[in-house]
């Protein structure tokens, strides 16, 4: 009986492994295809039936991609965009979240409802007014223009408010009795207790900022002020697209995110678990 039990257990384990291996292959396939295409010629990339491996492993497409786009500027712009969006989201959201969670002031509930409303509206609604505002101020084609919509984060405020609400009031009260003023309670007690949530928010903000295409495309039209995502979009022609060069460019553009993921892997997984996001 024991052996039949262990056999069925083994079968189930093998089944589960096969299921997940198939899932992993499906997830990895586009990246592998992208990598392989980046080594093909234009003809090979359009060939029907398609070939899996390139005829020759040439780095010419990478050279072309580096020639077609000012990658250094794109990297710099993307890194600055991510840096400022993360800093602004974490700093301002933590302050606002703390205020909404722990401070008592008039109009608190109405203000928080407004924050929630902003979360519920699609970001495209704000695209034109925000663009007009920046255009009138003459601030388009700048790093500030890229960062502008991310100066405050409604999601971040909501997310960190929840984190602060999880901290018992008695801890802040104990700090008050120990001699802390409001700023010291925030900086010495509350912030260190919410670092995991802040890291999660920072990583999410970075991922979203990296993937943001529409706003950078609209607000910065000078190729030297574009981000990686908007710069890559210019590689797509109206009538034809050089797919190998586009794939090579995309692989080069992925580098910062891969590095961020490798460094903050633990926090990213924690963050996903915390928010239930994916």
């Amino acid at each position: 009986m024991n052996s039949s039990l262990s056999k069925s257990k083994k079968r189930r384990t093998v089944g589960i492994y096969i299921f997940f291996i198939i899932g992993s292959c499906i997830m990895i396939f586009p990246f592998v295809w992208m990598l392989l295409t980046s080594f093909k010629t234009v003809g090979e990339s359009m060939q029907i039936p398609p070939t899996i491996l390139p005829n020759s492993w040439s780095l010419d497409t990478y050279k072309d991609a580096l020639k077609s786009l000012p990658f250094l500027a794109l990297y710099k712009n993307t890194i600055l965009l991510i840096f400022w969006r993360v800093v602004c989201a974490v700093v301002f959201s933590s302050m606002a979240g703390y205020a909404f969670a722990k401070l008592e002031f008039k109009g608190k509930n109405i203000l928080f409802a407004i924050v929630l409303m902003q979360m519920m509206l699609p970001s495209q609604i704000f695209l034109i007014p925000q663009y007009k505002m920046l255009a009138k101020l003459g601030l388009t084609n700048s790093i500030f223009a890229l960062v502008f919509p991310g100066l405050v984060s409604a999601f971040g405020t909501f997310f960190l408010r929840q984190a602060y609400m999880g901290i018992p009031d008695e801890i802040a009260e104990a700090a008050r009795l120990d001699g802390c003023n409001q700023w010291q309670i925030f900086s010495k007690i509350m912030v260190p207790l919410t670092t995991s949530s802040m890291a999660a928010l920072g990583i999410f903000t970075a991922v979203f900022a990296y993937g943001d295409l529409m706003w950078p495309l609209v607000v910065n039209t000078d190729i030297n002020m574009m981000t990686l995502s908007s710069g890559l979009a210019t590689l797509r022609g109206q009538f034809s697209t050089n797919f190998p060069v586009l794939m090579a460019g995309s692989l080069l553009a992925m580098l910062p995110m891969v590095i961020i993921y490798l460094v903050f892997q633990k926090h990213l997984i924690e963050g996903v678990a915390m928010t239930g996001g994916k």
Binding site: E170, I171, A174, A175, R176, L177, D178
Partner: protein
């Protein structure tokens, strides 16, 4: 240490709810005051007003004759031990204890000396590098005490500090707190709803109900001379028996008619009932379970026949939960008795220990 004076203190919330009403109390230096009462009676709110964590709606609160109503918590020189300890989870035990001193810019060497001294007193020396998550409930409680001690404050406030501990540890920590009070000579205000803690720790106890002080007295006096039915019922476990009675006066003699039984009161108690013109009036007779004894076979006076509902064995003694007509009566008897549920027993009431309360006002007529 410090003297505290609370005059006409009231706490009213914006929704109109009055949590504390006209609270008056003078606390002497080195006193161990206990605030006791059921949930929602205002004891924690009063403590929080003393700490400065709640605004005082009206009244005057002074520490050493200085009005502190509008002084920030941090400037009142008060330390508080919270029910859930409120330790800083991201700091080690050492840092938790040193935090208040660091904020006050105490020199590092002095901080180190004070923290280690407090740790020695509380037997926390081995745990100084640990974080709160790695401590047991009792250890966390001691760290919370240590954090208060190192600051050497004028007043210690403790908000149900033992309620999260198991029964055994609670008894142990109760003794520790008592020792600590003697050692530090501190003024301590302690909130609890556990009357054993109140009776064993306090030099004076403040009994509260619905935001109003019911009685302020020594533990002994509260037990023996409660000022009303609430205090009499709240202090003591099992609680005092309350029997519906009618006062019958004949000359200088006063009796209580409980059901069909007449209980003759001693002269001094009778005198108070006669003077209060209670003849023919309904009153409440109160008697503690230990003052109700099994009557001898030939006893005829002041006896009450009851039916046993529940027999509760506690080891060396037992409680008999009985009823006589509409009255419920609990008696503490020796565990050697062979009485069981359903038996009819005759109790003798110790009339010198009977308390009589006015039925309308519920105030004490005689203790």
């Amino acid at each position: 240490m410090a003297r505290l004076s609370l005059k006409n203190i009231c706490k009213e919330y914006p929704n109109g709810y009055q949590a504390v009403k006209n609270f008056n109390l003078e606390i002497a230096d080195q006193e161990f005051i206990i605030f006791v009462g059921p949930s929602g009676c205002g004891k924690s709110t009063t403590l929080r007003m003393i700490a400065g964590l709640e605004d005082i709606s009206s009244g005057e609160f002074k520490i050493d004759d200085v009005l502190v109503n509008d002084i920030e918590s941090k400037d009142r020189d008060i330390a508080m031990v919270f029910q859930n300890y409120a330790l800083y989870p991201h700091m080690t035990v050492y840092d938790n204890m040193a935090f208040g001193l660091k904020l006050r810019k105490t020199p590092k060497a002095e901080i180190d000396k004070m923290v280690r001294e407090a740790a020695r007193i509380l037997d926390l020396e081995r745990l100084l590098d640990r974080k709160p998550a790695a401590l047991s409930g009792g250890q966390r409680q001691r760290v919370a005490m240590g954090r208060a001690i190192v600051r050497n404050p004028k007043v210690f406030l403790m908000d149900e500090p033992l309620s999260n501990l198991d029964a055994k540890l609670r008894v142990q920590m109760r003794t520790e707190i008592s020792k600590l009070h003697k050692r530090l000579g501190a003024t301590i205000i302690y909130v609890t709803h556990d009357q054993t803690e109140a009776m064993t720790l306090g030099t004076r106890i403040v009994v509260m109900k619905d935001g109003v002080i019911q009685q302020v007295d020594s533990p002994q006096n509260l037990y023996n001379k409660p000022c009303n039915v609430f205090v009499a019922g709240f202090i003591g476990s099992p609680q005092m028996n309350f029997l519906e009675a009618e006062c019958v006066v004949s000359g200088k003699k006063a009796e209580l008619k409980i059901g069909d039984v007449m209980i003759t009161l001693p002269e001094e108690k009778a005198e108070k009932l006669i003077r209060g013109k209670y003849d023919g009036k309904k009153v409440i007779a109160g008697i503690r379970p230990e003052d109700v004894t099994l009557a001898a076979n030939n006893a005829k006076d002041n006896v009450l026949q009851c039916t046993v509902n529940v027999y509760e064995l506690l080891g060396s003694e037992a409680y008999l939960y009985t009823e006589s007509g509409t009255n419920q009566l609990t008696a503490r008897v020796s565990s050697a008795t062979d009485i069981k549920a359903g038996d009819t027993v005759t109790f003798e009431l110790d009339t010198t220990k009977i308390h009589v309360f006015d039925k309308e006002t519920e105030e004490t007529i005689t203790n």
